[in-house]
Symmetry: C2
Subunit: 220 residues, 2 copies
DNA sequence: CATATAATTTAAGTATGCTTAATTTGTAAC
DNA sequence: GTTACAAATTAAGCATACTTAAATTATATG
């Protein structure tokens, strides 16, 4: 129970860095709901531990050691999510929060056992890939945000952002879940909202919502 | 993830207080492997929180609020133990350590769900009673330490102390487990050891070991 | 009943991970 | 190329939960 904060920081860096592997302190602060000063503090420690490359006022990047550590934390989190959903039968929109608390506590052996019980899943209940014990990360099918779907197109939900519990709760009420089909009927330019159909039910959704649901475009 | 230490202190007090509900700081320090000074420190905080009655140099006692809190922690721990053993199939002697890490993290809702999955167990894998959500603590059958068994008597294992992982591991190797029959063949006065039979296998065990295994005396 | 000793408490100090406020730096706009 | 602004860092301080060493208290024994 010692490295909870460090583990959280490394996870956030791993999950939110850009294509070149960099991330701004302010983004970390936002995700973790702490001050920028707290982030600077922790970056120094992580740097001293050899988990990140860090130059003052320059970018932050994971070292291979940091990458390994972070990837393992992400693995732990996602395996807990699958386990809680698949075995314990917690609802899809509740597992994120619970898994976040448990991910720091379990032994590696328990995580491996849970993975086995879930039959070595490749994706978590939100569609995010689960790194294997050996460090392999399953590839996702090509997908785009729902907000980029064109009028008249159909998409299959392959991933949703789990940035917020209320968001998950809400889309779950709309019937949005993994592998569900969404048909984009109409876009309303004036407020960027859009009318979608989910199993014959029409819903009007905001751009913000659509940006956090990812679909594989289906041929008509 | 805030009250880990407080929760541990309250659990230890709950589980180790004497018949009049009191406990010495030194015993707490021993169980938690911290200094006596650390205990004094925490006792002040727990007292300020209203969880214990505490007078300097006098005894320590749980208030009803502290009792409730502690009992809930014990409940959480023991439900995790049963779950890890019964559902996850971890070996009997491994669940204590793992449960200890998880007990602080799960939500009350998850604990209730795990309890339901295990079919509302009354005892954990070491024979300790599990307080119900309503606060009821199942009674144990009348039992004595194995060290008090007389030569020629037979006892059924109803409980073992889970004070130490190595201890559990060792007795598990001897074949000692819940509901197992133990026959006391001979006592050796000179070193307080004793010769026992477990499913036709003889073992010589120390007094220390025998003091931590509890049996229900069986009629011949 | 004085005193020795063991348990307990206090005092001072450490590490971690935060906070707010002040300062420094990088960069984008003029 | 200044300058203005936002982002990042430093500084000072706080809470938690420990540590060791010194002081205090309870009590057990002669």
């Amino acid at each position: 129970m010692k490295n909870i904060s460090k583990e959280d920081y490394l996870s956030v860096i791993y999950k939110n860095r850009n294509e070149s592997g960099e991330i701004n302190p302010a983004l970390i602060a936002g995700k973790l709901q702490v001050s920028n000063a707290a982030v600077t503090d922790m970056l120094k420690k992580l740097s001293k531990d050899g988990h990140i490359l860090y130059k003052k006022y320059k970018g932050v990047k994971l070292t291979s050691s940091g990458e390994e550590y972070a990837q393992n934390m992400v693995r732990r989190h996602r395996i807990w999510e699958v386990f809680l959903h698949q075995i314990v039968k917690l609802p899809w929109d509740k597992v994120h929060e619970e898994a976040h608390r448990l991910e720091h506590s379990a032994s590696d052996e328990l995580i491996d056992r849970l993975e086995e019980m879930c039959d070595f899943p490749e994706y978590d209940p939100h569609g995010d890939p689960i790194p294997s014990k050996a460090g392999k990360v399953p590839k996702l099918k090509k997908h785009i945000p729902l907000s980029d779907l064109k009028e008249g197109e159909k998409g299959k939900v392959v991933r949703v952002n789990d940035f917020d519990d209320k968001f998950l709760n809400y889309i779950s009420e709309l019937g949005i879940k993994l592998n569900e089909m969404i048909f984009l009927k109409e876009r309303r330019a004036f407020d960027d909202s859009m009318l979608i159909m989910i199993s014959k039910q029409p819903w009007n959704i905001s751009r913000k919502l659509a940006e956090n649901v990812f679909v594989e475009v289906m041929k008509k």
